[in-house]
Symmetry: C2
Subunit: 441 residues, 2 copies
Amino acid sequence: MLATHDAAGLEDFCDAMHPARAAEFMEGLTAAETWEVLQAAEPTERVEIFEYLDGERQVEILQTAPPEETCQVIARMAPDDRVDLLKLIDPAIVERLLPLLPSEERRDITRLSQYPEGTAGSLMTTSVARLPESVTVGQALEEIALQTKNHETIYYIYIVDAENHLRGLITARQLLMHLGTPDENVTDLMQRDLVTVEATDDQEVVASKVADYNFMAIPVVDHEHHLVGIITHDDVIDVLREEAEEDAYRAGAIAPLQETYLNTPIHTLSWKRGMWLSALLAASFLTVYALQSFHETLDAVKWLPLFLPLIVSCGGNSGGQSATLIITSLTGGDLTLKDWWRVLRRELLMGLLLGAWLGAIAYMGALLVVDGPTPVDKLVVPITLLLVVTCSTIVGGALPLIFKRLGLDPALMSNPFVAGIIDITGIVIYMSICWLMLAEI
Amino acid sequence: MLATHDAAGLEDFCDAMHPARAAEFMEGLTAAETWEVLQAAEPTERVEIFEYLDGERQVEILQTAPPEETCQVIARMAPDDRVDLLKLIDPAIVERLLPLLPSEERRDITRLSQYPEGTAGSLMTTSVARLPESVTVGQALEEIALQTKNHETIYYIYIVDAENHLRGLITARQLLMHLGTPDENVTDLMQRDLVTVEATDDQEVVASKVADYNFMAIPVVDHEHHLVGIITHDDVIDVLREEAEEDAYRAGAIAPLQETYLNTPIHTLSWKRGMWLSALLAASFLTVYALQSFHETLDAVKWLPLFLPLIVSCGGNSGGQSATLIITSLTGGDLTLKDWWRVLRRELLMGLLLGAWLGAIAYMGALLVVDGPTPVDKLVVPITLLLVVTCSTIVGGALPLIFKRLGLDPALMSNPFVAGIIDITGIVIYMSICWLMLAEI
C-alpha cells in the first residue's frame, strides 16, 4: 500500500486495528514510511498509534518530519507523555515546534516540565474531567459526553469549586446508576473524603496508594489543594515495572540503565558496571590486608586456604539473604524501623540455626574430602561457620535498617555490598579461630 | 460506640469513609469487634470494608462468626477474592458455609477453584458486564445502569452471541459519547479485534498484555472463545508487585515467602533459606577440592592465599552483574534467545574492558599493600583478573540464556548461583596462572 501511495487503504488499516497492534505492525518500516502511514490515518487514530510507537521511533519522526505536520500530533498527545518526549528531542526542533502549538498546550508543557523526574507531577496528566459544584446528574452526563474526546479517563470526574479547589469525586458508574433521576444534584452523590497525592510526592508513594486502594486514577493537588492533574492506573503500572527493574539492577550492583540492555552503548554500560565493581574491589583489599596480618597463622596451618573461599561465600550468601529479606519488607511496607529489635532477635536465631546446620554439613564434607588435618583440627570449620553465619545474618539484617535510619535508600545495602562487608568479617573470624585452636600448638 | 452498642453511630462511621480507610481504622479491634462494627454497616458497605481487611483478619472472622451471618458477605464478595479466601479457611467451616450460599455463587466457587494458582483463571472474576449483539445504545445504557451494582467494572462491556462467544467490546465512554443517538446499534460501534487471554495462561502473560496495551481490564476466554471472565487493572497491579517481590527473593537465593517477613514462622524461614544455602555450600566443596589438587602450587607460592578472596569475589560480582542484566532484559521482553550471539559478543567485550580496568587497579593495590613478592610476580594478579572477569561475564551472560533455552526459569540463575559456579572457575584460573608463572621457577 505504501508503494502505491494507497491512502484509502492505509486509512482502513489504521482504523481497523487497536492502535497498539498497528504500532507493532509498523515496527519494520522506516521513520519516514511510518510517518507516511500515519498521515493517512484519521487525526485521532494518528495520535493514538503514534503514542504506542516506541520512544526512539517517536524521536526519529519528530526530528525528521516537518514541524508543521508533527505539531498537530504533539498538540493532541497526552500531556504527560508529550513532556517526556520533548525532553528527548533536539532543543532546536522543540523551539520550532512550540510556537506552532495552541497557547494552552504550550503553557501546559512549560508547567509540566518543571516537575523533576520521579515525582507525581512528572507522571500526571493535566487533562482531567472536571465539573463545577452546582451541576445535576443530567447536566453532568451531557457535559461528560462532550468532554470524553479530550481526556484520558472520564470514569472519575472531579468536582471543583470556582477557585479549582478539589471538592469531591463522582464516578461515571454513579452517574449511570442515577440515569433515572437527572435532576439530582451531583454534590449530594459525590465522595468527599478523597485520597490525593501532592505534585511533589515521590512516584513510589503514588504507586502504593493506587495499589492499596485499587483506584483507577488518583487526583494530584498542590499545597493549597487545587486540582492540578490526575495519574491513571496505566502510569502506575509503568512505575511499578520501572521500580522493579531498578531494584533488580541495584541487587546486582549495577547503576540503573535508561535504555534496554542491547541499546545501551558499551561505554555507558562499562561505566555503570565498572564504578560499582571498582568500589567493591577497593573494599576487597581489606581482605588482602587482613590475611597478610595473619601471615604467621597462614604459614603454620598449611591447609587453611582450602576453606577460605567456602567460608567467605557461605557468609556472603547468608548475609545477602538477610539483607534481601529486610530490604524487600521495608520496600513493601511490611516492616518499619520500630521493628528493629524483633529483626535482630530473629536474625540472631536464624544465624545460629543456619550456622549450626551448615557447620554440620561442612564438617562432614571436610572429613570426606580433605586429607591431612586430624578430625579434631577440622572442627575449626564448623565452629567458624557457626560464628560467620551468625555474624552475617545480623550484619545483613542490620545494615538496611541503619541505612534507612540515616535517611539513605536501604536498597543500596543489597547483596554484593553486604557480601563485601561480610567477607572481611568472615576472614578475621576464620583466621582468629585457626590461630586460637591450631597455630599455638 | 462499640461499648454502647451504638448501631446508628457505627453505621454512619462505615458510610462516611472510603472502605479502605474504614478497614484501616479497624485494625486495632479484635475480630469479634470488627464483625460487630460490620454488622452495623449497610450490606454493600459491609462487603466493601470486609474486602479491604487484611487476609488474616478475614480468615479469623470467618472462623469465629456464625456462618449464617458471614455467608451473606461471602455471597457478595468479588468471585476471585472469595475463592482465594475460602482456600485459607478450615475445610469444615467451608462445608458449613457453602450450602448457605445461593446456588449460582456455589457453582461459581467450584468452577474458579479449579484453576491453579498463577494462571489467568485464578485471577479472573466471573462477574462481567455483558450484552447481547442486538442491543441499541439506549438499551445498553439502561441495562448497564441496572447491572452496575453487580460488577467490578462496568466501563468495559463485552458483547457476546447467544452461545456466549466473545464478539466485541464497547466502552462506557463510547456509550456516553453516543448518548444523543440512543437508537444506534451497539454492534456498529464495538471494537471487534480484541486482545484476550486464555484461562490457562500464566499470570505474567496477563500482566504484560494489560501493561503494554494500557487496558483497564482484559477478557478471559476458554479454548472455544467463550467469555469466562475478566481480569481488572487492580489485579494486574497485585501480580506485578508479587512478581517483583518473588524476583527479589530469588536474586537473594531465598524461596519466595507466602507471608510477611515478621509473620513467617522461624522454622519455615530457616527451611526456605537453609535449602538454598545447603546447595550453595555443597557447590563450594568444589573449591575445596580444586584448591587441594593444586597443593603443590599453594606450598610453593606463600602469598597466593592473600588474593584468593579478592579474585573470587571480583569474579562473582562481575558475573552476577551480567546475569542480572540478562535476566532483567529477558523478563522485561527486551531480549530474546535469538540475540544470544549479540549478548555473548557484548559480554566478551565488557569482560575484557572491565577485567583490564580492575586488573590495573588491583595491580596498583598489590604494589602498595603486599610485601614479599616482586613486582613481576605480582603481575599474576592483573593477568588473573583479566581472565577471571572475562570468563565471569560470559558465563554470567550465557547461563540465563541456557536456562531459558532449556525451558527453565532464567531467574534461577541469579547472583548467588552464578557466583557459586564462577567461584570454581576463578580458583582454577588463579591457581593455573600461579603454577605457570611462579611455581616452576
